[in-house]
């Protein structure tokens, strides 16, 4: 799966997991997920952490990295690709 496909897949999964009333095309990958962007909150953050663990088998080792990793769909995709590579290596 290339990065572009991963971004599209993430958008779909975020919509399903958080029951968002938007379409994947409505989500701009570089837009912030929290506060002004999609308006997600701390409960959603927990849902996203579980999503990443369940779907991509990637655990967020350091909770302080959370705001950086979950800043946008783009940053989530980068984190997943980087950690999958690490694991594969």
């Amino acid at each position: 799966m290339n990065r572009e496909q991963l971004v599209e897949e993430l958008k779909q999964q975020i919509i399903e997991q958080l029951n968002l009333q938007v379409k994947p095309a409505d989500i701009v990958a570089s837009d912030p997920l929290f506060n002004e962007g999609l308006g997600l909150d701390s409960i959603d953050a927990l849902e996203l952490i579980v999503l990443m663990q369940q779907k991509y088998r990637i655990k967020l080792a350091n909770a302080e990295d959370g705001p950086k990793v979950f800043q946008s769909v783009d940053t989530m995709a980068d984190f997943i690709l980087a950690n999958q590579t690490t694991q594969a290596g």
């Binding site: 009333q21 308006g39 409960i43 927990l46 849902e47």
Partner: protein, 330 residues
């Protein structure tokens, strides 16, 4: 205690009844699902996404009842529910099993408790007042009403939001069907909230004159209570009985004897044929009775020729829970 605002969502489309009236149709689907209004105009879409059906219908009816009575923040919020938030409970338990008790998401767990509906209403209103949820099978709504009555006795002039909500899920339907719960009547669900105060207002629907609960009484104890409720009202007798009787009900004789004890030739409407059977269906009956007293629109042939002044709601179940609510026109 006066109902100064009332709202319901049920399988029978009644949410807009004050403006659109009611097209009465008997429930025929085995699983009676509520006719939901367009929530997008009623709740912030960002909040709706986390709300299951029972929360949505509970919150919307609560807000609607408050709006009718022009009350921004009630002095107490009381909710009755027998099953609580079943959908979210099912989701959480399913994930618990599937994920081997790991990686559980918070939303379904947070929303699965019985007091979620009352809590969501309070959160939306930023209401820090007394908030209680009664979980007592077929007495859940009635105990909420009794608490509201006690509250208003001690705090005259205050406003209490009181109601009930229960939902039917695919899973709960299949379980309850195996127990024979739907042998005589379609399954049902619904929410109804009332804004009650100790004085009538311009927006009043009806007065709740009497609330009684009985648990496994003898038939004579029950009938004596019915007679005592009806007797003081001889000059203004009960005009209509809203009965919880189901089709081919094994307790048909009991319903017949209650009707006879309440007075001669009182018309009866079996309300579960509209909302289905569920433990807090008496909240729907309370809404329907109050609606008929407010609007005087009992369909021809169902009620008295003259506008009804008093409506008695009676229900019982196979476990021996009985309740009587007497409504009076304002």
């Amino acid at each position: 205690m006066f109902i100064n605002g009332a709202s319901a969502i049920s399988p029978l489309p009644v949410f807009d009844a004050l403006t659109k009236g009611i097209n009465f149709e008997f429930l025929t689907a085995a699983k009676g699902r509520v006719a939901e209004p367009d929530y997008s105009n009623l709740i912030d879409p960002k909040l709706i996404r986390r709300m299951s059906r029972i929360i949505r219908m509970g919150v919307v009816t609560a807000l609607d009842a408050l709006k009718q009575a022009a009350i921004a923040n009630p002095d107490a919020i009381l909710t009755g529910t027998a099953f609580g938030c079943l959908e979210d409970t099912g989701v959480f338990l399913k994930r618990l099993v599937e994920n081997k008790e790991e990686m559980l998401t918070p939303t379904a767990f947070i929303q699965s408790t019985h007091n979620t509906v009352g809590a969501q209403v309070a959160l939306l209103l930023k209401c820090h007042s007394y908030n209680n949820t009664y979980v007592q099978r077929a007495h859940s709504f009635e105990l909420s009403l009794l608490d509201a009555q006690l509250w208003l006795t001690e705090h005259a002039g205050q406003a209490v939001l009181v109601g009930a909500a229960d939902e039917l899920t695919d899973y709960s339907y299949s379980l309850l069907e195996r127990f024979g719960t739907f042998k005589h009547q379609c399954g049902g669900e619904g929410a109804a909230y009332f804004l009650v105060q100790s004085a009538a207002s311009a927006s009043s629907w009806a007065e709740i004159e009497t609330i009684h609960t009985l648990y496994q009484p003898t038939e004579e104890e029950l009938l004596e209570l019915v007679r005592s409720i009806s007797a003081p009202a001889k000059e203004q007798p009960v005009d209509l009985i809203l009965s919880g009787e189901e089709n081919h009900d094994e307790k048909a004789h009991l319903y017949m004897n209650v009707k006879a004890a309440a007075g001669d030739n009182i018309p009866v409407v079996n309300y579960k044929q509209f909302c289905g059977t569920y433990p807090t269906a008496s909240a729907f009956a309370c809404w329907l009775g109050a609606y008929w007293l407010k609007t005087g629109t009992i369909p021809a042939g169902w009620g008295p020729v003259m506008p009804a002044k008093r409506i008695l709601i009676y229900q019982t179940d196979n476990l021996g829970y009985h309740s009587l609510i007497l409504l009076k026109a304002c």
